[in-house]
């Protein structure tokens, strides 16, 4: 009898540990590294963590909508790259020697931001339209778009790196609110995006439709939901996120090239799935995505502090992706 009770409790504890494995991992990494390398707990580490995660979180937010509706967006990384290159072109100093458009005056930074976001939204809307109306599977549609955008970026930049930014641009990426180290602008912008997406997912009809389509697209159609329009909005919103992220990353890097953004879509998808976005559709929370993205960066920083050679980081990250999803799938398998 006592044994049985113990067994049940043991099971409960194990379930609790597995269901919160990622958070526990986050905390465990921090504590262990913090004890071994006391300098780990510092405002500088926090600031670095936030700066490096900010753009990744924004990209992951964009991809999450596609994933929740059982789609994907492989064009994310290249969209980010194109947005960065366009922004860079319009944010060069007037006295910079190799300026792309030497005779162009200083363009308002907000105008540039709006411009790159609109370009990215357009590509996202095209993705959504192709997926909804031509019935091309999202994997293929966005794979094609990935290549197309890369080509456009090559044509646009002539494959030349772009540098020499105005201070107002680099400042967005390097500065922080009131000069406080733990309040970098990047993190604040990223947090605002998180709040907006949380609102969209939880408080709007569009958000409810998104989860409904992800949960059961056939049923969504029976219930009169315009699944095509909803999907176009989802992919266009994703585009907006990539545009913003590209703008921020360009300024952060201090110079851009066509290679910026390469592979970011996979990192974003990994972050989402680690954070509990189900590729079976209908499941995913903004808070989870944040955790998923943080795990990646925290692992990287922690291993840096421990003096592990950076190459090993990839092996560990790969293992984390697979294990996190394996642990997550348990929930669904058990319910059958």
């Amino acid at each position: 009898m006592l044994e049985a009770v113990k067994g049940v409790q043991g099971k409960k504890v194990i379930n609790f540990l597995l269901n919160n494995a990622i958070i526990i991992l986050l905390v465990a990494i921090s504590i262990v590294v913090g004890i071994l390398r006391p300098s780990f707990f510092s405002t500088l580490t926090a600031s670095n963590l936030m700066r490096n995660t900010a753009a990744r979180f924004i990209i992951a937010l964009g991809v999450s909508g596609c994933l929740i509706t059982r789609g994907t967006d492989l064009s994310a990384g290249r969209s980010v790259g194109l947005a960065a290159c366009i922004a860079a072109t319009f944010m060069q100093r007037s006295d910079y020697a190799s300026k792309v458009y030497p005779n162009m005056g200083d363009v308002n930074i907000l105008l540039v931001l709006l411009g790159v976001v609109l370009v990215a939204v357009m590509f996202g809307a095209i993705n959504g339209t192709v997926i909804s109306f031509l019935n091309v599977p999202p994997f293929i549609a966005t794979l094609g778009m990935q290549t197309i955008i890369y080509g456009i970026c090559l044509v646009f930049t002539g494959a030349q790196p772009i540098g020499g930014f105005r201070e107002v641009y680099t400042n967005v990426a390097s500065g922080s609110l009131f000069g406080i180290t733990v309040l970098p602008y990047l993190a604040i912008i990223s947090a605002v995006c998180g709040v907006i997406m949380w609102f969209v997912y939880n408080k709007t009809a569009h958000g409810k439709y998104l989860y409904a389509i992800g949960g059961n697209e056939n049923a969504a159609e029976v219930n009169g939901i315009n699944t095509r329009r909803t999907k176009i909005i989802i992919y266009a919103t994703a585009g907006a996120m990539y545009g913003l992220a590209g703008f921020l990353l360009g300024g952060k890097a201090g110079g851009t090239s066509v290679n910026l953004g390469w592979g970011y879509e996979l990192e974003a998808i990994a972050g989402c799935t680690i954070g509990g976005v189900s590729t079976n559709g209908g499941v995913g929370r903004v808070s989870g995505i944040l955790v998923g993205v943080l795990v990646f960066e925290l692992l990287r920083i922690a291993m840096q502090f421990m003096g592990v050679e950076p190459s090993y980081t990839y092996i560990v990250q790969g293992l984390v992706i697979v294990l996190a999803v394996a642990v997550d799938m348990r929930k669904y398998v058990a319910k059958k």
Partner: protein
């Protein structure tokens, strides 16, 4: 050697909330055709799936050639010499006929290397046997439905099966193909093969079977030699059941006509055609028919999920075009779909989300956001009104029982205040107690003046609930019954009134 090649003893099988088989027995003699009969839902297919290893049974034993056997899966069944020609065929259309026939048991020269020459030669031979052109390398998907059915039979022949289960094998065959099939069956019988034959077509049964076993509501009724039976006798034994007070008292009074459908015809020539009927305010119109009668297809057509080529829907005196579900919903029509899992519930979403999903546009606040408080009020009110048993409104719907899931979907539509409710198999997969609750909800809706189109494969349920019943067979309406005519014999007769060849081409 025992007298029987197969004995199934006291087989029981339950699904969540339903007892599909209750101590059913079947004895099969070698070299005979054994017909298995019963209404839709009587448990015939379930019994066969237990034999074929698709389902694992809860209780009972199977003896094959007098020996106790366990059949773990379809592959195991095939290896033992039991083959099944499926009601819903599951072939691989993009691969060749030969690969389909030898799927899972490819002949090999070297380990792992398929011997295509031998496979194709053997396929050609077996194709000739069933009267098909010997084209082993032809892509299966390029054949007609009836040819594919014959390929399935060829497959059963080629494995050298001693028992062949045929589940509605003639449902898509023309009469000349049917005679060809009967020829194959005769030659199999001469070779000592035993055939279990499931069909609704009485004349076929009486023509080819030796023994007939009848099932009803998951129970074994009896086995008789075919010679002792007539169509009437079979029908009486299939449907004859005591009706007690299983249904709520009806207090609805049908009023003026709300919905008229005229000559409605599907874009798919094999689906519904020339359908005309009308539905009155506060009326429950039952729709009866066998599997394949195209009832669900018709309802999905009316709801804008399937395309039509001709005919009209006249709603409250105005003709309207319904090209997508939203059109129907905007006109006040609701559809409770047949397959709750596939097109009804959003499994990973909460009860609250499932109730509000179709009416969310009515709950806007400041144009942008939705009014969570009002939605919660709606959900709480519905949970109470329909007494939905759920731990909370945030509980995922997939953890509720079938009956409660159905109530959630009913309340989803009620939030839109529809006038016409199409309910396709509203009590499928729901246990007996919950069924009565659903009946009460339906009766109550009719009393409030809602019009209800109720499709059901359980005739007892239609007779108990409907004011009138429309009977369909093979895509057509074959008749309406009301009053004293609403009995199972009359309905069954209408539901099996298949078109003869002459009528088809008239």
């Amino acid at each position: 050697m025992s007298e029987y090649i197969l004995e199934m003893k006291d087989i029981s099988k339950s699904f969540p909330g339903v007892k599909a088989l209750d101590k059913v027995s079947l004895k099969l003699r070698p070299g005979t055709v054994h017909a298995l009969m019963g209404e839709n839902g009587a448990g015939k297919s379930t019994l066969m799936k237990c034999l074929f290893g698709v389902y694992s049974m809860d209780e009972g034993r199977i003896f094959y050639n007098g020996e106790y056997v366990r059949i773990a899966n379809p592959f195991d069944a095939l290896r033992k010499g039991i083959a099944m020609v499926h009601q819903e065929l599951q072939p691989i259309p993009e691969r060749s006929i030969a690969e389909n026939i030898f799927c899972g048991r490819y002949p090999a020269k070297l380990p792992g290397v398929v011997d295509h020459a031998r496979m194709n030669a053997e396929t050609a031979e077996v194709l000739k046997k069933v009267g098909l052109d010997p084209e082993p390398e032809r892509k299966l998907g390029t054949l007609s439905v009836s040819q594919i059915q014959l390929v399935e039979i060829a497959r059963a022949v080629s494995v050298g099966a001693r028992i062949v289960i045929m589940d509605e094998p003639t449902s898509s065959l023309t009469s000349s193909e049917v005679s060809k099939l009967f020829g194959i069956i005769d030659s199999l019988r001469e070779e000592g093969v035993a055939i279990i034959y499931i069909s609704h077509k009485m004349d076929e049964i009486l023509r080819i079977s030796n023994d007939v076993t009848i099932m009803r509501d998951g129970q074994y009724i009896g086995t008789w030699p075919a010679g002792e039976l007539t169509t009437d006798l079979i029908i009486t034994r299939m449907v004859g059941r005591q009706m007690t007070n299983l249904f709520p008292r009806k207090e609805n009074t049908p009023g003026e006509t709300v919905l008229e459908v005229e000559n409605y015809t599907s874009i798919n020539p094999k689906s519904f055609r020339g359908i005309s009927f009308n539905l009155r305010k506060g009326e429950i119109l039952g729709v009866s028919g066998l599997v394949g009668a195209q009832r669900t297809e018709l309802m999905e057509g009316l709801f804008g999920l399937r395309a039509s080529v001709s005919g009209a829907i006249i709603y409250k005196g105005v003709k309207f075009k319904c090209s997508r579900p939203k059109d129907a919903i905007d006109h006040g029509i609701a559809l409770l779909t047949e397959d709750r899992r596939r097109t009804g519930i959003f499994g990973v979403l909460s009860v609250a989300d499932n109730i509000s999903v179709a009416s969310i546009n009515k709950f806007h606040k400041y144009k942008l956001m939705i009014d969570g408080k009002k939605i919660n009020e709606l959900v709480e009110a519905n949970v109470k009104k329909l007494s939905i048993k759920t731990p909370g409104i945030r509980t995922l719907i997939q953890s509720l029982s079938g009956g409660n899931q159905q109530k959630v979907i009913v309340s989803r539509w009620l939030a839109n205040d529809p006038d016409v409710f199409i309910m396709d198999e509203p009590t499928r997969g729901i246990d007996v107690g919950a069924k009565y609750e659903i009946y009460c909800i339906i009766a109550d809706l009719a009393k409030q003046g809602k019009s209800i189109l109720m499709i059901s494969s359980e005739m007892g349920e239609l007779i108990g609930m409907a004011d009138r019943i429309m009977v369909m067979c093979d895509g057509r309406v074959t008749g309406f019954v009301e009053g004293d005519e609403m009995n199972e014999e009359t309905i069954m007769e209408l539901a099996t009134r298949f078109e003869t060849e002459d009528e088809k081409y008239a």
